[in-house]
Structures are given as C-alpha cells and as structure tokens.
C-alpha cells in the first residue's frame, strides 16, 4: 500500500467522527521504482493532507519531506522528486493501520490493508 492510498483512507467504524489519519505500525517497508509524472503530482497536491503525509512518511523511515508545503513549492524539481518518492514509491508491505479514535487495528498483509469491519462496527 502506498502512502497515496493511506492519505485517502480513513476509519469507517460506527461512531468515529474523525477517523483520519490512520496511524501506521510498520513491520516491513518496500520501495518500488515508479515513473515520475509531474502533472499527476500537481493534480494531487491540493488533495493531499500534507501533515498526514509527512507523519506517515516519517514512520516509514523517510524524513526528507518539509514540515509545511505550499503550492508554490511545486515549481522546485527537488521538492517534486521527494513528494513523488513519499507518495507513490514507498509501500507498506506488512504492518497495520490503527484507527486514531478507537485504536482498532486494520492489519496489512502483502501490501493489502484489511478494512473489513465486524458486524457491530457497521
């Protein structure tokens, strides 16, 4: 699972008002090379919760992202490369996502988060 997806996912448990961002428990991280696509990054940037991305990338062991980001920084190639790496190339292979409110764990196996809820959580 990429951090792109992590940035979109939130906890859906009944009664949870703010299920975003999910905390990450890391067991194994893999990096996969993906072609750099500037237009996609520009398109995605306004939709990304920057703080969540920075925190997630730090738990995954990537500390290069700046604390704050503005759209003017998109002109810098260096920034875009870092953004690209954090967003698309870092994969959480094994571990878990944790709901920030209830502490419920969603296990991640082989890169697939299991977001299935139990009957009493719907």
């Amino acid at each position: 699972m990429r951090l792109l997806t992590h940035n979109m996912l939130s906890s859906n448990i009944k009664g949870v008002t703010n299920g975003f961002p999910l905390l990450i428990e890391v067991e194994k991280v893999v990096e996969k090379q993906v072609d750099f696509n500037e237009d996609f990054l520009r398109n995605m940037f306004p939709k990304i919760e920057w703080k969540a991305l920075v925190e997630a990338s730090r738990t995954m062991g990537y500390t290069e992202l700046p604390e704050n980001a503005e759209s003017s920084m998109l002109d810098s190639d260096e920034f875009l490369r870092k953004f690209h790496h954090a967003l698309i190339e870092l994969h959480l292979e094994e571990g878990a996502l944790v709901c920030p409110e209830t502490g419920r764990k969603f296990p991640v196996n082989k890169g697939i988060p299991n977001m299935l809820l139990h009957e009493d959580e719907v």
Binding site: T5, S10, N43, K47, G111, N114, M115, L117
Partner: protein, 291 residues
Amino acid sequence: MTSRPELQAPPEIFYNDDEARKYTSSSRIIEIQAKLSERALELLALPNDGVHRLLLDIGCGSGLSGETLTENGHQWIGLDISQSMLDVALEREVEGDLVLGDMGQGLDLRTGVIDGAISISAVQWLCNADKSSHEPRIRLKAFFGSLYRSLARGARAVLQVYPENLAQRELILSFAMRAGFSGGVVVDFPHSTKSRKEYLVLTCGPPSLSSAAPRGKGEDGESCSDEDSSGDEDNQSVCVSDRHRPRKKQKLNKKMKGREWVLRKKEQRRRKGTAVPADTKYTARKRKARF
C-alpha cells in the same frame, strides 16, 4: 443450478481460489473484462488534457479492469471483498493499490479526493442479503452515500451492473439518486441478449447539460463489433404478428413485393442456372382487371 453467481454464494465465498483462477487463465473472461472497463473509462469522460487522475475501482477483483486504467496512465485504488481475487491481483503485479473491504459497509475514504470511479459487474451484489445483519437498502445507502462523499464535485462514477430484474435496477438507481447523484442508465446493444450491457453513469452534483447520460452503443442499428452480433442484431424493426393488425394493413403489406423484389428474385434464379424470362417493361406489372 442458476447461472447468476449472486444467487449461489456470498461474494467473499463465491470468488474462492478456483473461481479467481479463471480470471488469469480464461482469455474469454479477460477479454470481456477488458472491453467492459475500456467502455466504462470512455463513459467516465475524463477531461482530455493528458493529466493522470486518481481513480477508484470498486470490486476490482483480480485487477483486470485496473490494468486498463494503468494502460491509460491513471493511478487507482481497488477495493474488493474477496481475498482470493486480491491474491490473484498481487500475482499479476497490478500497479494500483488494493484494499480488502466491503462496499456495503461504506467506502472508508476522505471527502472529495477521488477523480472518478468505475465498477465492473459488482454493484448488483449489494442487492443480496447474505448475512442476517445485511439489509440491502441500508447497504446500498451506505455505498452510494460514501461514494458521493469521496468523489470530487463534478466527478463521474460509471458502474457496470447486471441487475436481475427491473425492480433491482430501479432499486439501485433510486438509491443513487437519493445519495445526490444525477445521471442515468446507458444500455449498450439493447437488442442483443448476449452483449447487452448496462452502465449506471452517475455525476456528482446537480443535473446539468454535461451530466446528461450519454447514448449507448448499438442503439440504432450499429452492430456489435464481434462475432456474437450474428443473429439477433439484424431485425431491428419489431415484427408484429399479422393477425393482430387490421385487415386493411395486412393487404398493404402484401403489395410490398414490387418490381424490385421480382427483379431480385429473377436474378437469384438466373445465378442458380434456371431458365428465367428476360426482364422487360412488362416485368412485375399488374394485369388489367378485365383479363
């Protein structure tokens, strides 16, 4: 045994390892899935500016539909309830991210982040109550509500469905409308039994000119591109049995065999090698009454 998988077992059980295997080995299934997803992407009508989008694939299964999205350069997130199907997707090394989840529990995505959603043959599963806790209406409501929230304004969702009957189609559509979507059903090849496909084309936001449902393929005589178009596509005009018509009209119909028809028939006989009188100005002329 029924042929509808929806009636056999819940999706997470029906799509077991054996069933999932078909989606890598059967070239027919792969071809159909690819065709459906190409058409869905076409109906999604993303702006043609070359910018790649973040799309959602609901019921992505083994990632066959996602591959079409990847070919067009888009990033995607796939959701499916069957672990076996997702394992096959992993084997195929699809580019998109996979999430194990149940669309009937609502999509757990942030608001307004997705640029478009496609779904191939999945949504009709929501009409089933496979567990005692399942209530189709609540599940449909949760699904469409959360889908509406997660899509960006003006984004589209194209859901290819196989509704079992008219009531099911109306049920699905009514919940889509209740969630706030505008749009409608596009039917490709409505005259064919085999290649007839239904797409729910939904737009986020109030109805406008751009959100009007596009036309289906093969609606007016345009035939399917492949071999299964053979029989049922030809007679586009519906033939009403003669005895239900008033007498006068029946007679009119018989007159239809005019000169052209006679000439064609004579030509046919000639090609077969039978002796046929030559065509003259008298050919296919009516005899006078006094004859």
